[in-house]
């Protein structure tokens, strides 16, 4: 059973990663990403008794987050609406326009991927260990590595060439 204090620690540890994961799923729609983030942690709290420790708590939370992003019917209405607020202040410099353009391109290219590949690359970009990613999406580790390398290549190509 997860206590309130444990839940707070879990939230502080994972919230920012899950927010960015959802941001990728929502093609930069921050409002939708925040809603999904909130929904993820509401479900974590509501179902904390059903977590039996068969997988790690990280895997369990990422599964919930990825499944929420995957199953939301409003996804079809999403739009790439990145604004300056989505760019970190530390990197806010003359290259800002360029960064914004590249991130827009990145969202667009991620959006071209199928649902599973989308989840794989978004988790990978958040530096989540590959074993956790494999458990989250339900793939063998070997398959995951090959798949990730292919997705990275196609994503780079898409961002550079625009397709």
């Amino acid at each position: 059973m997860i206590t309130e204090q444990e839940f707070t620690n879990i939230y502080n540890l994972h919230a920012s990663k899950i927010h960015r994961l959802c941001l990728g799923y929502a093609s930069g729609n921050n409002e939708l990403a925040k809603e999904w983030l909130q929904e993820t942690f509401i479900k974590v709290w509501k179902h904390r008794n059903s977590f039996k420790g068969k997988s790690s708590i990280d895997t369990w939370i990422y599964r919930i987050a990825v499944n929420i992003c995957l199953g939301d019917l409003r996804k079809s209405r999403k739009s790439i609406t990145i604004n300056e607020d989505l760019l970190s202040n530390s990197s806010y410099d003359d290259n800002n326009d360029n960064n914004e353009g590249n991130i827009k391109k990145m969202y667009h290219c991620i959006d071209q991927l199928n649902e599973q590949n989308k989840a794989l690359i978004l988790l990978e970009l958040e530096n989540i260990p590959q074993t956790t990613i494999a458990d989250t999406v339900g793939l063998a580790h070997g398959t995951l590595r090959t798949r990730l390398s292919r997705i990275r290549k196609s994503l780079l190509k898409c961002i550079t060439n625009g397709k």
Partner: protein, 182 residues
């Protein structure tokens, strides 16, 4: 662009989650849970009252008014129970399945939903309308002409409103199912 730059570019995004805190989330989760308990209690109570009414009253004084009432309430109850059950099942799978299995489950889920939307829901609506139709002669006898007209108009308007909501959600679910099959 280098492979590493992909991560650098990704890291440029800021995290605007300042207006959330874990305590608020716990409060919201508790509120949601209480809401679910209340809905389930109300539904259970309705079903119990319906069963008691059917066994102890309707079968002793059987008439078309009772039949109409039973048809209306039971078709509505059945549809609501079905909705709750399918949402409960979906949430249970959401928290326990890996993405690959959940993706397959969602396809199956929305196919079943189509069956509910195109077969069970129209039957429930037809039964509801028939039940309402059986009540009308009684309403005509007991109420004034003005009030009877009001019941008639408001009954049909609310039915049209409900049907419009169902059609809207059916279209949404269908387009989502198409998206899943892409």
């Amino acid at each position: 662009m280098e492979n590493d730059n992909l991560n650098k570019l990704w890291d440029i995004q800021a995290n605007d989650i300042s207006n959330f805190n874990p305590k608020d989330i716990i409060t919201k989760a508790k509120k949601q849970r209480n809401g679910q308990y209340i809905s389930i209690s109300v539904m259970s109570l309705t079903v119990i009252v319906l069963i008691i009414y059917a066994f102890y009253y309707v079968f002793n004084q059987w008439n078309t008014f009772n039949l109409g009432l039973i048809l209306m309430i039971s078709s509505l109850t059945l549809r609501i129970i079905l909705e709750f059950y399918s949402l409960y099942r979906k949430e249970k799978q959401l928290i326990s399945m890996a993405q690959k299995s959940y993706f397959a489950y969602l396809k199956k889920y929305y196919k079943t939903r189509q069956m509910i939307n195109f077969v069970i829901t129209p039957i429930c609506i037809a039964v509801y309308i028939f039940g309402f139709y059986l009540l009308l002669p009684y309403f005509k006898d007991y109420f004034s002409k003005g009030f009877y007209t009001y019941i008639l108009i408001s009954g049909f308007l609310s039915l049209i409103f409900v049907i419009a909501i169902i059609i809207k959600s059916t279209i949404k679910e269908q387009s989502f199912l198409k998206q899943l099959h892409k």
